[in-house]
């Protein structure tokens, strides 16, 4: 039984890491702009498509060593999707800033539809095969089994998360972001270029989303234009669970949601003696979510303040 639990925890960690990475994008944008970026799931979807485009382009040109090609394609996907994020903020969100919160949010919803339809029309709606970046090898560990792909995802996600935390807390640019999230007016009085901080956030968030997308496609072996919708909603949930606006909260929320889902599937039928089947997984997961929010309305690591929002992010 312990083996079984450990095995399930490995699965939970892999999917939780992906949720966490996407949740980071939601939470950073919310932290600085108080905007829920509904287009974020589409950056996640664009990641593997851009990667495939660049990678096959390299192969077409002759290519270097396969491993090097992959690395270059991954970095390039981060940069391209990140720049797309910056451009979308500049042209679709910034002009609407003066018109309250609803207008940019609607604009975000619109961008989501535009991006998804663009891929659907140009590349096609069918799921495409995505070859694993790291060959999938099962390794026996702790009485369970873990694949090299799962290990790779976990390692890369943790690396990105730690790097993210160091960047925000330890660099000058990080100070811009933290200051802008505290107060735009005050930070601009102190000489911080708030718009640059916003652009920075819109570079890193979508870039991280693209990374999560590549990991996800590599893990399951497919990519499709709609893949961002469902998982985007899940990651958004994870961001709220951890306390939206809080970076450690997003990571915690991601892992927690992964764990609740996996353990729901694994143990609901066992505990109830087959009465409650695995089809109740989402019911269980969201019931837990509601329960947590009843007791901690600002999420696990969010802080309640009486200011314009009920949620703030002091954990930057």
């Amino acid at each position: 039984m312990l083996d079984y639990l450990l095995q399930q925890l490995i699965f939970a960690l892999a999917i939780g890491a992906i949720y966490g990475l996407i949740a980071l994008g939601y939470t950073m944008v919310y932290g600085v702009m108080r905007l829920i970026n509904f287009a974020h799931g589409e950056f996640f979807m664009l990641g593997p498509y851009v990667y495939t485009f660049i990678f096959s382009g390299f192969i077409g040109l002759g290519g270097l060593a396969p491993a090097l090609d992959s690395v270059i394609a991954i970095v390039a996907s981060f940069v391209i999707v990140g720049l797309l994020g910056v451009a979308i903020e500049r042209f679709a969100y910034r002009p609407l800033r003066a018109y309250g919160r609803l207008a940019p949010m609607l604009s975000a919803l619109g961008m989501s539809i535009v991006l998804q339809s663009a891929v659907r029309v140009t590349i096609g709606p069918q799921p495409e095969h995505f070859p694993a970046i790291v060959p999938s090898q099962p390794i026996a560990a702790l009485g369970g089994m873990v694949t090299t792909v799962q290990l790779g995802i976990l390692a890369a996600a943790i690396l990105l998360m730690v790097g993210m935390a160091l960047f925000v807390n330890g660099t000058r640019l990080g100070i811009w972001i933290r200051a802008a999230s505290e107060s735009w007016t005050t930070s601009s009085l102190l000489g911080i270029r708030v718009n640059r901080a916003v652009s920075l956030v819109f570079f890193i968030g979508p870039g991280l989303g693209a990374m999560a997308g590549i990991m996800y496609a590599s893990y399951y072996g497919i990519m499709q234009p709609t893949m961002g919708s469902v998982i985007g909603l899940k990651a958004f949930t994870a961001a709220i669970l951890g306390g939206i606006g809080s970076i450690p909260g997003a990571m915690l929320g991601g892992f927690l949601l992964g764990a609740i889902e996996t353990l729901g599937t694994a143990f609901l039928p066992l505990i109830s003696g087959g009465l409650i089947g695995t089809e109740y997984r989402d019911v269980f997961a969201f019931a837990v979510l509601i329960l947590i929010l009843l007791f901690k309305p600002a999420g696990l690591l969010g802080e309640t303040v009486s200011e314009e929002t009920t949620v703030a992010k002091k954990d930057y």
Binding site: Y4, Q7, Q8, F11, A12, A14, I15, P125, Q126, P127, H129, S136, P138, M145, T147, Y220, G221, I222, Q224, T226, M227, V230, E261, T262, L263, T265, A266, P269, L270, G274, G277, T278, E279, R281, D282
Partner: protein
């Protein structure tokens, strides 16, 4: 667009009517105007595709865009091929057949719109469609109300049990599809312990249930039934818990890419059980997405024989290649056979209208490309075949009985 034309026609006819009552005495002049107006109205009503007065217009509908376009388009192509052939030989009773295909996008809402469009066009005297059970079900009502003879390619058993008298189905339903692999694994392979997975849809849950009944009737036991969401991609937790049951057989009633994702993750976790899936998985994508090595040995049911299994089918494949410049898709031969059934009913009809065709539809017996077709009281084919395929060396191969 169609709607606009209709309104415009109505407007013109209304004007014509008012003009006649007001200017009755002007006689000859008004009459000429009226003829002119009616001609314009008629032209507008028949729309972009002006069919000659004595052409036989038949409708066809399937998903021709979207994720299932490969399946849908193949059906339309197959039917088109048969009608082309018919027209070369002089059509039906000397009338040319015009096949009008519309895209339903595998979407029930779009399907009902298409049905309404066919119903509103009085020239259409028969419809072949739709491909998806979920699209066909709401459309049945509309077709039946306007007395439209309908040949149905969708496979849900319920469709023929809803009491509609306007439909026939040459293809085997899901009762046959679930029963065949259950019989095969219990009798031929001697596997006795199964686990069922379904995606909670009408199709997936339904066919898993049919498999279960037949598997248990064959002496097997079902160790568990597991539900997942139709758009799930991560089955790892589910598979780990299935492993605890240690089954010989895993039957999965779901769509694509879920069938492929599930099998891939199942093999990654080292679960060796025999995998069986329904017709949706019968596509090359299934094998590429799973990977040829992991897909090896997977069983899949499909309603049609391979294109090299008989001289007629080989000939069909060649003509398809010549006509469209590509090999026939998965459902092309079914589209062809459905067109044969519809054409036979039109051929026997005493009058070339919906009532005439409908009167002959149920009694029709045809020797189609896929074998003899005759219908029972419900409109089901009495001898509809079903085929079992196994993945071997990265290809689907027919399992010989």
């Amino acid at each position: 667009m169609k709607k606009l034309e209709k309104n415009f026609t109505k407007m013109l006819l209304g004007w014509e009517f008012r003009a006649t009552t007001l200017d009755n005495e002007r006689g000859i002049f008004m009459n000429r105007t009226r003829v002119l107006l009616s001609a314009v109205a008629l032209l507008l009503a028949t729309g972009a595709m002006p069919a000659a007065a004595d052409d036989i217009v038949l409708g066809g509908s399937a998903p021709m865009s979207g994720a299932q376009a490969e399946f849908g388009q193949s059906q339309i192509d197959g039917a088109q091929l048969y009608f082309d052939q018919l027209n070369e030989k002089g059509g039906i009773k000397g009338n040319k057949v015009v096949f009008r295909a519309l895209d339903d996008r595998a979407d029930p809402r779009q399907g009902t719109l298409v049905a309404q469009q066919f119903c509103d066009d009085n020239a259409v005297i028969g419809v072949i469609g739709h491909m998806n059970s979920g699209v066909t079900m709401p459309a049945l009502d509309i077709y039946s109300e306007c007395g439209m003879p309908q040949v149905v390619p969708a496979t849900n058993p319920e469709l023929m049990r809803m009491g509609f008298k306007t439909v026939v189905r040459p293809v085997a339903n899901d009762f046959v599809q679930g029963a065949l692999p259950a019989k095969y694994v219990t009798e031929k392979l001697g596997l006795k312990k199964a686990v069922l997975v379904h995606d909670k849809t009408v199709f997936g849950q339904g066919i898993a249930g049919v498999f279960k009944d037949n598997f248990e009737a064959g002496g097997g036991t079902v160790a568990g039934t597991f539900g997942a969401n139709p758009e799930d991609v991560d089955f790892s937790a589910l598979i780990a818990s299935i492993k605890l049951q240690n089954p010989d057989v895993v039957y999965m009633g779901a769509g694509m890419p879920q069938l492929a994702l599930f099998l891939k993750q199942m093999r990654e976790q080292g679960l060796k059980a025999q995998f069986i899936g329904p017709d949706i998985g019968f596509t090359v994508d299934f094998i590429t997405q799973v990977g040829a090595a992991s897909a090896e040995g997977a069983l899949m049911t499909f309603q049609l024989p391979p294109y090299d299994s008989s001289p007629e089918l080989k000939d069909f494949a060649e003509r398809h290649q010549a006509r469209f410049g590509r090999a026939p898709g998965p459902y092309a031969s079914l589209g062809f056979a459905n067109a044969q059934v519809m054409a036979a009913a039109v051929e026997k009809a005493e009058t070339l209208d919906r009532e005439g065709v409908l009167a002959q539809l149920h009694g029709v017996t045809v020797d189609t490309l896929l074998g003899p077709v005759a219908f029972d009281d419900n409109g089901e084919n009495t001898t509809a075949p079903m085929y079992l395929y196994v993945v071997k060396d990265g290809k689907f191969e027919l399992v010989k009985e």
